[in-house]
Structure formats: C-alpha cells, structure tokens
C-alpha cells in the first residue's frame, strides 16, 4: 500500500484502474450495494493520502463496526448533518499545522455523505463549506432515500417513489414532491468543479474523482454519484449496475460537469439532447418495486419531468457550454 499514490494520469480503460483497495473487504453492506461500490472506486483513485469525513448513514454503519474497520485510510465519523463542517476543520487544521511547521501532512480531504446527509439535514454545513472555499471534495452518494433508518423519503427521492414515509395509499401514491436539484444549488456557489457520476460508468466516475481532487488547491469540489440500493429500490441485488446504467441511458440521471464555469455533458448523456437517443423511461421504471404502483398517467408525468430537466440542461449548455 505504501507505494501507491493518487493516480497521476486519467483512466482510459478498465486496465488502468489501480489494483489497490482502500475500502473493505469486511464491510457489512447488503449484497449489490451501490454506495459501497462508489466508495471503493473513489478510493482507488484518491489513494492512501486521503482523509475521509463521513456522515452517519449506510456506509458509516456498515464500515466501522468496532473493533473492525473497512477503511485503510484515515477516517472520521462525527454525526449525520456535519460531514462538510468536519471536513472544513480537517482541511483548516492541515493548512495551519503544515504552515507552522508542526506537521507535514499532504492529504486530500473528502467529505462523504448520503442524500439525506446532503440534500436535507446537511445542506447548511455543505453550503457553508462551499461558500468558505475549503479545499475539500464532497462526495454525495445518492441512493435516493434514508436507507440506514429503513427507507424513508429524502429531498433526493424522486417523485412517485415508494418509501416508508411516502407510502402508496389510496389518497397519496408515493412521494408527492420532485427530486431537489442539488447540483444547481452546489453550482450556485461557483466552486471550481462539480460533476454528476454513476457507478455504472466507472471510468467516467473515476476520472471525475481525479479531476475533482486536482481542483482542490483552488477550492471545493463536488461529486454527485448515483448509487442504487437493492432493498430500498426493491430491485434484485444483481441488478444494481444495470439499473444505474438505465438511469443514465433513459436520461433520468444525466452525466455532466461544471468545470471552472463551463458546463459540459459527458458521454453517453451528451447524445441525449436528442430525446430519441434516450432509452424509453419505462425500461428504468419497470424493474423497480418502488415504482411498481405507477399508472400510465403517472409515468407520463415522470417523463415530462425528465424532459423539463433536459430543457433546463440544454439552456445551461447554451449559456455556459
């Protein structure tokens, strides 16, 4: 482990992916857990000189059961809503200690939180960290609900999705509200680098981790990583990557970057400006138990939402492309 450092050049093929592991084995996530795959790939790129500040959630509880740990890098968990604040403190400490000659720690700081810890309870700390300009990479692993507490809706849960707090009843059928546009909120802080990524497109994801880490000398970076959860989404545990890929391919979760003021759609999403290049939405909805109750008009409404979001992205592209 000692020799491996953060990768220097980008990853072109799967053969370029570092073999070193810094997360697990030994973590206790469910079979087919999307978030754990995201963390594993992220750390392959970040390497050993990384400090993790993790919010409470599935990754935290499954990776640090005393006296075991799945982390081969320095790791801290403090609470649910404050990963960004904890990371801010770590970054400031390293700055001060290095400057004063008390320590010489060259480490990148990564804050890691779920959708609940980011869209909802942690958004204030996140905004503070971004506004203050800490050189921290914030990684949001988005499994679209509070999974650790047993599948409750969050601001990142999509409309119509079943969760235990957005149940399917005779009057209300799944989540009423739409998914919050966290990327736009983040980008509004004018940070150097923000991107969406998916565990189904690992090379794109890992290159974005590298780009984001490279931007930290200038300020904060943000990655929004789509990561399905089999028990929460009511999908088969063998289908995690497939569903994640369908989310991109149907246009539900487009891959894009906000890179130093420029907006860029990444493959394959760059082709999806043309709606006919997107796969039918039903391919994404059908296999998921959380959407099983959806009727035709509801599916239409969901499709309209996807189209609206694309209209917005195209306008962004025109303005900042």
């Amino acid at each position: 482990m000692g020799m491996a450092k953060q990768i220097k050049v980008g990853i072109r093929t799967i053969w370029d992916v570092p073999k070193e592991e810094y997360f697990g084995p030994g973590q206790l996530t469910c079979a087919g857990c999307g978030p754990s795959l995201a963390v594993r790939l992220m750390l392959k790129v970040a390497g050993p000189n990384t400090i993790i500040a993790n919010a409470t959630g599935c990754i935290e509880v499954t990776s640090t059961q005393y006296p075991y740990t799945a982390w081969a890098v320095p790791y801290i968990h403090v609470a649910f809503e404050n990963a960004a604040a904890v990371a801010s403190g770590i970054e400031a400490a390293l700055k001060a200690l290095n400057r004063k000659g008390i320590a010489n720690t060259k480490a990148k700081v990564i804050a890691l939180a779920g959708d609940g810890g980011t869209y909802d309870i942690g958004i204030q700390a996140l905004s503070g960290m971004l506004e203050r300009g800490h050189g921290v990479l914030y990684v949001l692993y988005d499994n679209e609900a509070y999974m650790n507490t047993g599948i409750q809706r969050s601001g990142g849960t999509p409309r119509f999705a079943w969760t235990t707090t957005s149940p399917v009843g005779s009057k209300i059928r799944g989540k009423v509200q739409s998914k919050k546009d966290i990327m736009s909120i983040v980008i509004a802080h004018r940070i150097p680098y923000a991107a969406t990524a998916s565990i189904a497109y690992p090379i794109d994801f890992m290159n974005k981790v590298k780009k984001a880490l490279d931007a930290l000398d200038e300020g904060p970076a943000f990655l929004h990583v789509f990561a399905p959860c089999p028990p929460g989404w009511r999908i088969d545990e063998s289908k995690t990557v497939e569903i994640a890929r369908l989310a991109v391919d149907t246009g539900v979760f487009p891959l894009y970057e906000w890179d130093h003021g420029k907006f860029r759609l990444n493959p394959p999403s760059n082709a999806h400006i043309d709606k006919s290049k997107r796969k039918p939405l039903i391919n994404y909805i059908k296999p998921q138990g959380r959407f099983a109750h959806m009727k035709e008009d509801e599916i239409k409404a969901m499709e309209a939402e996807v189209d609206n979001y694309w209209d917005y992205l195209i306008r962004l592209l025109k303005a900042f492309g």
């Binding site: 059961q65 320095p74 403190g89 400490a93 001060a96 200690l97 008390i102």
Partner: protein, 407 residues
C-alpha cells in the same frame, strides 16, 4: 481569591498589566497558547472574543486558521475535525449557540478531543434574552466536558492556559469549557496581568503523537460504531477519565503556581474556616457580592463565609464537603433553574448530594437568583445570612427553592 504567593515572581514573566474585559482576556490567552484553528459563530455575549481573535489572525499576531462557520453546530463540528487532525483548537459560544452544539458536545468528549471552549453564560429563550445567567451551562453539564467557572478576568486568562494543559494531558484527553458571567464579566474591564507568551508556550508544550490523529502515515478510524457489546466500556473510559482528571487538574494548577505564582483551588473559601453560615456560589457577581455581604454580616457579629465552586465538572465533592463540614447552615445560590426537579437549584442538588454522600446532614437552602441578569444586590446576600441563622435554629431545610429578586 487568587492567591499570589509570597515567593517573588520572576519579574520577566509578567510582561504587561492591562485593563481587559474577560472576553478580551480569553482572546489574549488563546493567542498566547498559540492555537492552530478557531471555528466560531457570533452570539452575545461571546462575540467580542471571536472578533478579537479574527483581528489577531488578520494582523498576523496569531498564526491560525479562523473558520467563520455558518452555525454553532458547524463551529463545534469543525473544531472536532481540526482536533482529530492534530490541531490545537479553540471555540466559544453562549446560550442558543451552546444548545445548537449540544449533539456535538457529547461527541467531542466521547471522541476524547482536547478542544477548549469559552462560555460566557447567558439566559436561554424563550422569552429571548441576551443577558447573563448560567442556564446554558447547566443544560450541558452532563456532556462529559471538564467545566471551570471563573470569577475574574485574570482567572479566566489563567484558566484558558491551564485548560489547554489539562485537556491535552495524555491521562485526560477531554474537552474543557471555561465559563464565566455573561456581561457582568464578559464585558467588564478589570486589570489583568499578562504573561510572556514564550513562557506560556513553554507551559503548554505541544503533545504530538500522544493520541491517534487523522494521519495517512498511520491510518486510524475515529468515531466507529459501537454495538451494545462495546458501547458501555468505551463510554465508561471517558466517564472515568473525567473523574480521574481531578488529580491532573490539581497537578497542573500547582505547576501553574510554580511558574506564574497564581493558584486556583477547585473550591475557594472566604472566611470559611470558622463560618457558621455559608453561601455557596459560582461565577463572579454572585461570589463577590456574597463576599461583601459576608463582611457586613461579620461586622455585626455573624460568622458568615463564602464558598465559590471553581471546578464544576468533575465536581470536587471532597474539597467541598471538607470546606462545609463546620457550617451550621448552607445556602447554594444558583443562577439557573432545574424546572420540575424536587428542588429547583441545579448546583444545590450537587452540593446536597455531595454532603449527604459524606454523611453530613445540615439545614440547606436552595436560592435562585440573577436569572437573565436580574440584579443581585449585596443586601440580598446579606439577608440570606440571616435566613440561614433562622434555618439553623429551626434545624430543618426549607422544602422549596427561594426565588430571590422575583417580583
């Protein structure tokens, strides 16, 4: 009070005698111990501490990172992160801010992080009040922090220096609060002797490599999930460390006395040795007004005394019972309330328990006063001595708290 020993203090140690508010004395001490990270959010009456620290950092007088966080929850969270990364860390807050930190207070002590925090005490909403009392401090007393309550600006300055030594001691490794009267001290100018920062830094040497920190050379997991199989043992270690910190606190004070010729005992008695009637106090205003009243009472032949609690957590039950063992009746003056308790004075309960645990049963009176800075007159304390005289005669503790100064 502050005991300036006969021993001639090395004249070079005190570099300046200055008029400072307690808040500015705190900021000066934080600068003198050379902290690395300050994370703070403004709230009255704490604000002038962090304004001054921001100024020091902006002027290059203090080489530290000042994190102007967006809330107190983040202030303490950032402090936790910075401390876990090995930095010497300071924060400060009051009232609503301390309440907003509450969740992280338990975590800071549970993770054994030597953070030092100043808390000028203030009343809690509602109704909203910016004025001083100790309700905020009493609400967080069970969070596992070491808690000092200072009574002068000099003591506050000295206590911050002692606090870093105690917090970072490998036998302790716990966060420390230094509290004092909001406004009545935080914004009152007093003479303070400032020490040579070089000597202060010698007194507070950095203890690198005495605790696990976030360092890629030696990866460690901090804040792990403990199952019921482990939680109890891990928590007990922190509880026990707080208990055992008593000896380190005394040791550090002795060394402080050696170096700076000042010493503060966990409880400080005034005219206590032969006192029949004792007022137990904490903080500045209550203590010094009680002392004035005690002098007047003594002038009239009443053997009055004052016992100030300086170390609140861990509670110095042994020193306290020793000091009170000859008294005929005791009142505890609380500037905070424990609503719905068998009796409403929070520190009264501690004193009562400490005495009874030691087999001492004396008539005792719980006094509530000075909430939201309701003026505590010297005559109020004077009156208390005569009440104690009556209570001693009856030989029974009143069953209700006395809400003094209440209209």
């Amino acid at each position: 009070m502050t005991q300036v020993l006969e021993k001639q203090r090395e004249s070079s140690i005190v570099v300046e005698k200055k008029g400072l508010t307690t808040n500015y004395a705190i900021a000066q001490a934080v600068k003198d111990v050379d902290v690395d990270v300050i994370a703070a959010y403004p709230i009255t009456p704490q604000t002038t501490i962090i304004e001054k620290l921001a100024e020091y950092v902006a002027n290059g007088e203090l080489d530290a990172e000042f994190i102007p966080v967006e809330s107190e929850h983040s202030a303490l969270s950032a402090a936790v992160g910075a401390s876990a990364a090995g930095a010497r860390v300071f924060t400060a807050t009051s009232a609503q801010g301390l309440e907003l930190m509450h969740e992280i207070l338990h975590i800071a002590s549970g993770l054994r992080l030597p953070i030092v925090m100043a808390v000028p005490g203030r009343a809690l909403s509602a109704p909203i009040s910016i004025h001083g009392d100790y309700q905020d401090l009493m609400n967080i007393r069970d969070t596992g922090w070491i808690i000092y309550i200072a009574s002068t600006a000099q003591e506050a300055y000295d206590t911050i220096i002692e606090a870093f030594r105690v917090a970072e001691d490998p036998r302790v490794q716990l966060p420390v609060i230094v509290s004092y009267d909001g406004f009545l001290m935080s914004h009152t100018t007093e003479p303070v002797e400032l020490y040579d920062p070089k000597v202060v830094r010698e007194f507070t040497p950095r203890r690198l490599n005495t605790r696990p920190i976030l360092n890629p050379e030696k990866p460690t997991t901090i804040g792990a999930l403990a199952t019921p199989d482990w939680y109890y043992e891990i928590k007990y270690q922190a509880i026990n460390a707080l208990k055992l910190s008593r000896s380190v606190i005394n040791e550090v004070d002795s060394e402080f006395n050696e170096k700076f010729s000042r010493s503060y005992k966990p409880v400080e008695g005034f005219m206590i040795d032969d006192a029949d009637y004792v007022l137990v106090t904490y903080g500045g205003a209550a203590t010094w007004n009680a002392l004035e009243a005690a002098k007047e009472a003594r002038d009239r032949g009443l053997k009055a005394g004052v016992l100030r609690i300086r170390l609140f957590r861990p509670f110095p039950a042994d020193d306290l019972t020793k000091a009170l063992s000859n008294a005929k009746a005791i009142a505890v003056v609380d500037r905070a309330v424990a609503p719905g308790s068998p009796i409403e004075g929070p520190v009264f309960k501690d004193v009562y328990i400490a005495l009874h645990m030691a087999g001492i049963d004396k008539p005792m009176l719980s006094v509530i006063h000075g909430l939201s800075q309701r003026t505590m007159y010297i005559r109020d304390f004077y009156e208390l001595y005569y009440r104690l005289k009556d209570i001693a005669k009856v030989g029974k503790s009143p069953q209700e708290s006395l809400f003094m100064g209440l209209r």
